[in-house]
């Protein structure tokens, strides 16, 4: 358990996750009040990572449910193991014969079998899916429901029921209530509005792209092999590119990828060629690359002006002199 908001910040930092105070506040409240967190924000700002970090900090198992179109109860909650049930009846044919031995009428036989059917609809034959696992787990767990916006609204309504009561009713078994209430984290990319009812039950957290200083800190922490000056350049390029109207703005994970790629290539400072060669690590669309190139050219020009002002000869100038 977290003891205070500052404690959250510190423990997260210990797990190499730099978080703003608003994130820490929400996490602290969620753990204190037992409420789910709904995390929204653009892709790649560390929504899923947040859940992982929480589970590591609390030393609890992370149970993940990835949502997608058409996800249903059978995939999310539980399913009867039809094959296994059938297999058992086949193997136990003889035993069933014994049970039925001496029955005179069909009615008697059916009565005897139905007296036994609890065996086949017991927890032995239930296949727990993430939601049931999170509820029935012996130790408290962290449940991550990833990309809730991808699921259908029926599933959302069903999830609502579980999140409010933390109990599940299986018709054949009765109601299973939670042994431990898990800490639930829902993430959404906002591809559709999550229903108000679900929102109302959650603490809302919006994670946006980090500020320049913040992002630089993250890059230095996650990619320590990259030189400080290069890291600063990378971050300021990404920050300026984010202001453009792009189909998919680069997020933190892309910044980190880029920094890692540059570090691997042993690049010491950003030059036009290296940038053009590695641009694909931060842009996922052809159109975006084209748009960004013009912006980057300006950036490079500014960069050059700065080095010249610093009194260091520019390599391009040297070529001219030769």
């Amino acid at each position: 358990m977290f003891s205070s908001i500052d404690d959250v910040v510190q423990q997260f930092a210990g797990q190499k996750y730099i978080c703003s105070r608003s994130i820490a506040t929400v996490v602290y409240l969620a753990s204190k009040m037992g409420k789910p967190i709904l995390v929204e924000g653009p892709a790649g700002v560390g929504k899923t990572e947040l859940a992982k970090v929480i589970s590591r900090c609390l030393d609890q198992e992370l149970i993940r449910l990835q949502c997608y179109e058409g996800l249903d109860e059978a995939k999310a909650l539980y399913e009867w193991e039809y094959g296994k049930q059938l297999l058992y009846t086949q193997i136990l044919k003889d035993k069933i014969g014994e049970v039925l031995a001496g029955t005179g009428t069909l009615r008697e036989a059916v009565d005897r079998i139905s007296a036994q059917d609890g065996v086949f609809f017991s927890e032995r034959f239930i296949l727990p899916r993430p939601l049931l696992r999170a509820i029935t787990s012996e130790k408290p767990a962290v449940l991550l429901v990833d990309e809730i916006d991808k699921s259908d609204s029926e599933f959302e309504a069903f999830l609502l029921e579980i999140l409010s009561d933390f109990q599940v009713s299986v018709p054949e078994l009765g109601t299973i209530s939670a042994k431990n209430i898990p800490l639930v984290i829902l993430t959404s990319n906002n591809s559709r509005e999550v229903s108000d009812a679900l929102k109302r039950r959650c603490l809302h957290l919006f994670i946006d792209y980090p500020s320049q200083a913040h992002e630089l800190e993250i890059v230095k922490l996650k990619v320590p092999e990259v030189a400080d000056a290069l890291a600063a350049d990378v971050v300021s390029v990404v920050q300026s590119v984010r202001k453009l109207d792009l189909k998919k703005s680069p997020s933190i994970s892309e910044t980190l990828d880029w920094a890692r790629a540059l570090a691997l290539l042993n690049v010491e400072s950003l030059g036009e060629d290296t940038v053009n060669d590695t641009l694909t690590t931060i842009f996922k669309y052809e159109g975006d690359v084209r748009k960004a190139q013009t912006e980057l050219r300006d950036f490079m020009a500014r960069q050059k002006a700065r080095t010249r002002a610093d009194g260091q000869p520019d390599p391009a100038d040297k070529d001219v002199l030769h």
């Binding site: 409240l29 709904l38 058409g70 059938l86």
Partner: protein, 475 residues
């Protein structure tokens, strides 16, 4: 504390945010577990528990700043500035205040009980707490006195001043500054004190102004997007302002998202068919006839094919932009969409829409690269071209959507084309951005074309477009 939070929640509601009692309750519980701490903590706690929509964040920040600090800060600031304005250091200022205190005591002894009013004293002594309390009381009692809604900032300020008995305070303090010498202050101190009093009176006026602004925000919340969008929904495409066009773009984009969502559910429902006995038996003979692997009908996926014909002539210029945006979204959504634009020629833009992103594509389509967009509308000619070149691509699964006003400049309508199309296609839908009452008048050929359409809808504003889309998807 509770009262203030609840009042804050009510204020947020007035600004168009939806906050249920459960949420206010949550925020109180949350504050209990974190403690009040700093102002930032409170802000973050409230934000986490009350704001459920990222689009509401700016509103929340604005209202929070207004409600929780505007007054307190104004009062504190004015105190700090007073010292600076008098051109003294803080220590000197403190001394000055002490001298004033002594004078006041002397004055009370001389005149016997004729004390300054509470507010005047608080003002001179920089008693921020009392000031803030009195200001709030004044605002509240003004609010109780009815009929201030709709008042402007200035009127509200006046009303607050009245509640505070500003006139009396001014008289009181002016009286005091006249008496300073009588009370035994030397000339220099008296001059300074006089300036101090003047300054504090100005401060009070300033504080009242700030309070009035807060009050105005409380009473006349700015119309927020949520309500704005509703009226936008009913506004005709023809009469949109620049700003509304931008908002409309968002709305249409959201419409597309919604469409996608509905479609995905429909597909999902259709995924699994009924139990297939024959195939189950056949498949499970390998298990000795024990039905381990149950087989279901695979339902045939009904992939709609859509052909969109979009009028981009001058008469529907404003509308065609949204229509094209809508068409673009359609094409993104369904795998088999062919998009055409026409004025007097018919041109296909399917490829264009595939290759470019939305704004660029629309720009290119409207610029006249594909067809001459500056010609006079000729539906008949365009339809004939479509008949010649593309009729073969229409089959029983095709839905043909025509977006246009059917204003044909008295050219030949050639409605037989539509008849042929209707015969071959699953359905023909015509969306007309003109008011229904004007159809068929002047050069409108809507009456003729209507006969060969399965669905004809007026589509003048966003809400109508929503309804059409609903029908399209659910049919």
């Amino acid at each position: 504390m509770e009262a203030r939070i609840l009042e804050f929640a009510a204020l947020l509601r007035k600004h168009g945010m939806r906050i249920s009692p459960a949420e206010s309750l949550d925020s109180l519980l949350a504050l209990q577990s974190t403690g009040l701490g700093t102002r930032d903590t409170v802000k973050e706690v409230l934000r986490a528990t009350m704001v459920k929509r990222s689009s509401d964040l700016p509103t929340f920040d604005e209202v929070f700043d207004l409600y929780f600090s505007a007054l307190g800060e104004a009062i504190r600031e004015s105190g700090e500035q007073a010292a600076q304005a008098l051109g003294t250091t803080l220590a000197d200022y403190q001394k000055l205040l002490e001298q004033l205190e002594e004078l006041l005591k002397k004055r009370q002894e001389q005149q016997g009980g004729n004390e300054l009013s509470e507010l005047a004293r608080a003002l001179l002594r920089h008693d921020d707490g009392t000031l803030q309390r009195r200001m709030r009381e004044a605002s509240e009692s003004m609010r109780e006195g009815s009929g201030q809604s709709g008042k402007q900032e200035g009127q509200l300020g006046h009303a607050i001043g009245e509640q505070l008995r500003l006139g009396e305070i001014v008289r009181e303090l002016e009286g005091l500054s006249d008496e300073l010498e009588q009370l035994g202050a030397d000339a220099e101190t008296a001059a300074k004190l006089r300036e101090l009093i003047k300054r504090r009176l100005a401060d009070l006026a300033d504080i009242i102004k700030r309070a009035a602004r807060l009050e105005a925000a409380r009473e006349n919340p700015k119309p927020k997007d949520a309500t704005g969008l509703q009226s936008l929904g009913e506004k005709s495409f023809y009469y949109l302002t620049e700003d509304e066009i931008r908002k409309m773009k968002d709305a249409v984009a959201r419409l597309a998202h919604r469409l996608k969502h509905v479609v995905s559910i429909k597909r999902q429902r259709a995924k699994r068919g009924a139990f297939d006995l024959q195939r189950t038996l056949r498949h499970n003979t390998q298990f000795g006839g024990v039905p381990f692997d149950v087989q279901f009908d695979r339902r045939k996926k009904n992939r709609p094919q859509i052909v969109v014909l979009c009028d981009v002539s001058d008469s529907v210029r404003n509308v065609s932009r949204f229509m094209l945006q809508f068409v673009y979204s359609l094409q993104d959504l369904y795998s088999k969409v062919r998009s055409f634009i026409f004025v007097s020629d018919m041109g296909e833009v399917t490829k264009l829409f595939e290759d470019h992103d939305i704004n660029e594509a629309i720009e290119l389509a409207l610029r006249g690269d594909v067809i001459n967009v500056f010609a006079h509308s000729d539906f008949g000619r365009a339809f004939k071209m479509f008949h010649r070149d593309h009729l073969a691509s229409i089959n029983r699964r095709t839905t043909v959507i025509v977006l246009g006003d059917a204003r044909n400049n008295y050219n030949l309508p050639h409605e037989w084309v539509l008849r042929d199309v209707q015969r071959k296609a699953k359905q023909v839908i015509w969306l007309n951005p003109e008011n229904k009452t004007t159809w068929g008048f002047g050069d409108s050929e809507m009456d003729r074309y209507m006969a060969f359409c399965d669905v004809v809808e007026e589509c003048r504003n966003l809400n109508q477009l929503y309804r059409v889309v609903d029908r399209l998807v659910l049919s």
